[in-house]
């Protein structure tokens, strides 16, 4: 069981993901530099948060062209498990591994706080250890997390049950008041049709130890580590 954490210039949650997976969960983890033209033998690719290449253009717009992302796309298309968190989610959208796009947050400001998200799908490798509709407390920290998609794409991902997480209140009610960034349908995370690629704006790697305010992120990482170990 091996996890690859990608490192782009400007990644800044790479070490946090490494710490959570390696030191909290005991997984075998290594960093993979953006200039690499091949992936190591690996079971899970984690695309971390941060500001890849500065993100001065559009978040993730440059990273998709990096050598390593060409390999990640191939890996995902062969069924490999890929999780993109925050900037990682943005990069997966730009790479075409996931449908839709990101806008600036509705209030046009960066937002960092704990939010509630509801686990709507637990038939993905990332959530199959979580009860359906379980509410998780996980922080967000982004300026561009306002997910959007065309009507037809939105209908497709809803019809295919690709919306894995939605922003909600503590009881799991999905309401506009608990949508932090204006995301369409309160979408916090989606998977692809094949369910092997997950993108989410909240940061599970920041919620793996109770002293940091929540350890609900462990539920996601344990799910995916367990699913892949079984394979």
């Amino acid at each position: 069981m091996h996890v690859s954490v990608l490192v782009f210039p400007g990644s800044n949650c790479d070490h946090d993901a490494y710490h959570a997976l390696k030191h909290v969960l005991g997984a075998d983890v290594s960093f993979v530099w953006h200039k690499e033209i091949s992936l190591p033998k690996t079971d899970l690719v984690l695309v971390p948060g941060g500001f890849s290449y500065g993100d001065y253009l559009r978040s993730g717009a440059i990273a998709r062209f990096s050598p390593v992302m060409q390999e990640v796309v191939k890996f995902a298309n062969k069924g490999g498990a890929v999780i993109g968190i925050c900037n990682g989610f943005q990069i997966l959208l730009e790479s075409g591994l996931l449908p839709g796009a990101m806008l600036h947050n509705e209030n046009l400001r960066f937002i960092c706080k704990h939010v509630f998200i509801k686990t709507e799908q637990n038939d993905t490798p990332f959530t199959n250890g979580i009860e359906e509709n379980r509410v998780l407390t996980i922080p967000i920290a982004h300026g561009e997390g306002n997910y959007t998609a065309s009507e037809s794409v939105l209908k497709e991902i809803e019809d295919n049950n690709q919306v894995v997480f939605r922003y909600c209140d503590a009881e799991g009610n999905v309401t506009p008041d608990f949508n932090p960034n204006g995301s369409i349908h309160n979408i916090a995370g989606i998977c692809n049709k094949e369910r092997n690629v997950l993108g989410m704006m909240p940061h599970p790697e920041r919620a793996c130890e109770q002293e940091l305010g929540s350890d609900d992120g462990l539920l996601i990482f344990r799910s995916v580590l367990n699913s892949l170990a079984v394979l």
Binding site: P9, G54, R109, E211
Partner: protein, 744 residues
């Protein structure tokens, strides 16, 4: 190639550069000739207030600058260094970016953050936390809202992309800061003892490398600009403000820490004020060597830059590195890996001079020593005079203010003061969690708490200064700034270790303002000596004035505290359990001079600063730490701005719990008990079973202890004068600043 004819150097030109006649003569003496135009530029910026500390250094020397756990004292390196055990040291420093932020808030604040982080990582330390201390005019002024918005965005965009959490700080509003906001940024880093880098240039023959961004025309004379009062012409100095690039800074951080690991780096200094001239002269002066630099080799952003411009440019995200001869390629390779410029531009010499060459011509040839603080830079002790306003302010009689008829309304009003109300609007724009070490972030505590992975330790950090107190009584105000910062880290369970300071004052050539400066620094020194918290360095920002006069004198304290055992000592202010007993410990609640209550509820800046007995305060800290370590207390929160009632309201707001309290024993005037900002007071709670142990604990330190009630219900109830639902208080507390910011 365009030719550039250098202007003839005259006294008039020197005066235009901000130099005095005496200083101009002194330059000629050092050189034994008339300076060239380029040399005049270098001297003017190196001898500016900002770089030379010429009007402050004599006063700063009165501060305790060694002892405690200091590994590197003030002024020796880019930042102070404190031993925190386990083979680790903490580098930390605070610095101002006031003047740039007044004219260009976004970039001014952003580059302030960038500059202070560079100071930390050029010492080989990885920044793990950032704080900021901000002062603005009234939020009713649309220009102030524009400044606040820009400054917060600037800090957020730079710090968030750089990937260091902003874990605390303060935002304070008073009309005195109108037009001249204060933006003080602090960085805290960790390094293994013995792996630090130094700002030195040893060994003639060793190559000098410039790394990072290309050099452009931005920020020329930024340091000189920061050494003048803000005026109507300041707007035209906007081009003096630099532009930040957090992405390049992030690469520079990772590459520099990696380059240090090669062992081939002998010296490293960041380029802030005065760019290449400052870094090259300071590094060579420190090693008593010289440096020969070929400016043609400097990567340039624009064509036809003159030697003058290249030397004075303050383009951001650059550093100067001295490598071991023969091993420079190892260093260059690391920067290459991170796609950064790294170019050998010269070498260390034994001449004692910095020589700057361009197009085969020697443009400047200056003794390094003559340029720097502690060397040839001028040192002045300015004239002082006690300001006349002080006696008038101190004659204020609190009893002239009519007693409240409705305390509920008074408390509701006070809690909507932007100085008291929640700063959530600000801190939620900062990433305060990245690096997953933040145990207590901004908002609901007395200080930020950051764990150190791989140990059981945590750093506890806080910035503090109540400028109104310093204005009303500079000596006491200086003492209180340190005492309160120390009390804040103590209330989070930490031992105060050391401070960094950012001294924001008015024009030092005005005797009354210089008197205030000297007194305030004296007060800080008094407190630092009692608490054994040496001053590790920081920065001085003079000329903080607007057309109406100087801002409140504001010596911002950045306090570093250390928790050795997080499991045992970690503490927060929120009420924890229904039924817990509530105690007040500390000094009598009396005097409303200088209080937020007087200012916000009555529009008065009057009276003397609150009382403070430093020895008593020190004992209080020991007692609190003892009570936490004995596991007697469940919540701890100090009494500060807004007085006891604000402390109690916050403990409720942070927890959604109410309390029933009786406060009659704490003083003789109800209004004073509630609103006085008398120092050395703390509220603690405990479980019923710990009551006797807690009382004994405080008695052992001779700290008065009063049981004042119990955590219960959903309302804050105080005697028969206050009865307010915590939910209502919370709504007011959270809503005040957003209401102002969304009002346009």
């Amino acid at each position: 190639m365009a030719t550039f004819t250098e202007p003839k150097v005259t006294l008039e030109l020197a005066l235009e550069h901000g130099l005095t006649e005496d200083e101009f003569e002194s330059i000629q003496k050092w050189l034994g000739r008339m300076p060239t135009f380029t040399e005049l530029g270098v001297y003017s910026v190196m001898w500016s207030e900002h770089c030379s500390y010429k009007n402050s250094i004599e006063v700063l020397k009165t501060l305790p600058r060694d002892g405690g756990a200091l590994l590197v004292g003030a002024g020796e390196e880019n930042a102070g260094l404190v031993d925190i055990g386990d083979g680790l040291a903490c580098a930390f420093k605070i610095e101002s970016h006031n003047h740039p932020s007044a004219v260009e808030p976004y970039q001014g604040a952003a580059t302030g953050v960038g500059g202070i982080h560079r100071d930390i990582f050029t010492m080989g330390a990885r920044p793990i936390a950032a704080l900021n201390s901000l002062r603005f005019g009234s939020l009713d002024n649309p220009r102030v809202r524009f400044l606040l918005d820009g400054v917060v965005r600037g800090i957020a965009d730079y710090g968030n992309a750089f990937g260091v959490p902003t874990v605390g700080g303060e935002v304070y509003f008073d009309e005195s800061y109108e037009g001249n906001p204060l933006v003080n940024a602090m960085s805290v880093g960790i390094v293994k003892v013995g792996e630090t880098a130094s700002a030195v240039a040893p060994g003639p023959g060793n190559p000098v490398i410039i790394v990072g961004s290309a050099t452009g025309r931005d920020g020329i004379h930024g340091a000189t600009f920061a050494s003048e009062e803000i005026s109507e012409e300041s707007e035209s100095k906007r081009p003096s403000v630099q532009v930040g690039d957090p992405f390049t800074e992030k690469l520079l951080l990772e590459a520099s820490l990696e380059a240090l690991k090669t062992g081939a780096v002998l010296g490293m200094q960041d380029m802030g004020a005065a760019g290449i001239s400052c870094s090259s002269s300071e590094m060579s002066a420190k090693s008593e060597t010289g440096m020969k630099i070929n400016l043609d080799l400097v990567p340039q952003r624009e064509p036809n830059m003159t030697a003058y411009e290249l030397l004075l440019s303050e383009s951001q995200e650059r550093m100067l590195v001295v490598a071991e001869k023969g091993r420079e390629q190892e260093v260059l390779d690391v920067y290459e890996k991170w796609d950064l410029h790294a170019v050998v531009i010269g070498e260390v010499t034994d001449t004692g001079h910095v020589e700057y060459w361009q197009h085969g011509e020697l443009k400047a040839n200056i003794p390094s020593h003559s340029l720097v603080l502690g060397g040839g830079a001028p040192v002045y002790e300015r004239e002082t005079q006690e300001p006349a306003y002080l006696a008038e302010k101190h004659s204020f009689d609190g009893s002239s203010i009519p007693e409240e008829t409705n305390f509920n309304e008074a408390v509701k009003k006070l809690i909507t003061s932007p100085n008291i109300a929640s700063k959530r609007w600000v801190f939620e724009q900062y990433d305060h969690m990245v690096r997953t070490n933040t145990i207590t972030g901004p908002g609901a505590s007395d200080s930020g708490v950051v764990r150190i992975k791989g140990t059981n330790k945590a750093l506890v950090v806080k910035t503090d200064c109540n400028g109104r107190y310093v204005y009303l009584n500079p000596r006491k105000g200086g003492r209180i700034a340190v005492a309160e910062a120390a009390r804040n880290v103590v209330c989070s369970g930490a031992k105060p270790m050391a401070i960094t300071n950012c001294l924001n004052f008015g024009n030092p050539y005005k005797p009354e303002l210089y008197w205030v400066f000297k007194e305030a620094v004296g007060g800080m020194g008094d407190a630092c000596r009692v608490f054994d918290t040496p001053v590790t360095g920081g920065n001085v920002s003079f000329y903080n004035e607007n057309p109406k006069g100087a801002v409140f004198p504001t010596p911002t304290i950045g306090m570093l505290g250390l928790i050795d055992d997080v499991d045992k000592m970690y503490m927060t202010p929120a009420f924890k359990n229904e039924g817990d007993l509530v105690f007040y410990v500390g000094a009598e609640r009396k005097g409303i001079g200088g209080s937020e209550y007087l200012s916000w509820n009555h529009g008065l800046t009057e009276g003397d600063a609150p009382d403070l007995d430093l020895e008593f305060e020190k004992k209080l800290h020991e007692a609190i730490l003892s009570a936490i370590s004995g596991n007697y207390v469940n919540a701890v929160h100090d009494v500060s701005d807004g007085g006891l009632v604000t402390t109690l309201a916050e403990m409720g707001i942070f927890s959604h719990l109410g309390a029933n309290l009786e406060i009659g024993k704490l003083g003789s005037v109800v209004r004073d008990i509630l609103f006085s900002e008398a120092q050395s007071g703390v509220v603690v709670t405990c479980h019923d079973t710990k009551r006797d142990a807690l009382i004994e604990c405080f008695k052992a330190f001779k700290i008065p202890v009063y049981q004042i009630g119990q955590v219960m219900g959903a309302n804050l109830v105080i005697d028969d004068i206050i009865n307010l639902p915590v939910q209502e208080l919370r709504t007011l507390y959270e809503g005040a600043i957003p209401a102002k910011m969304n009002s346009h």
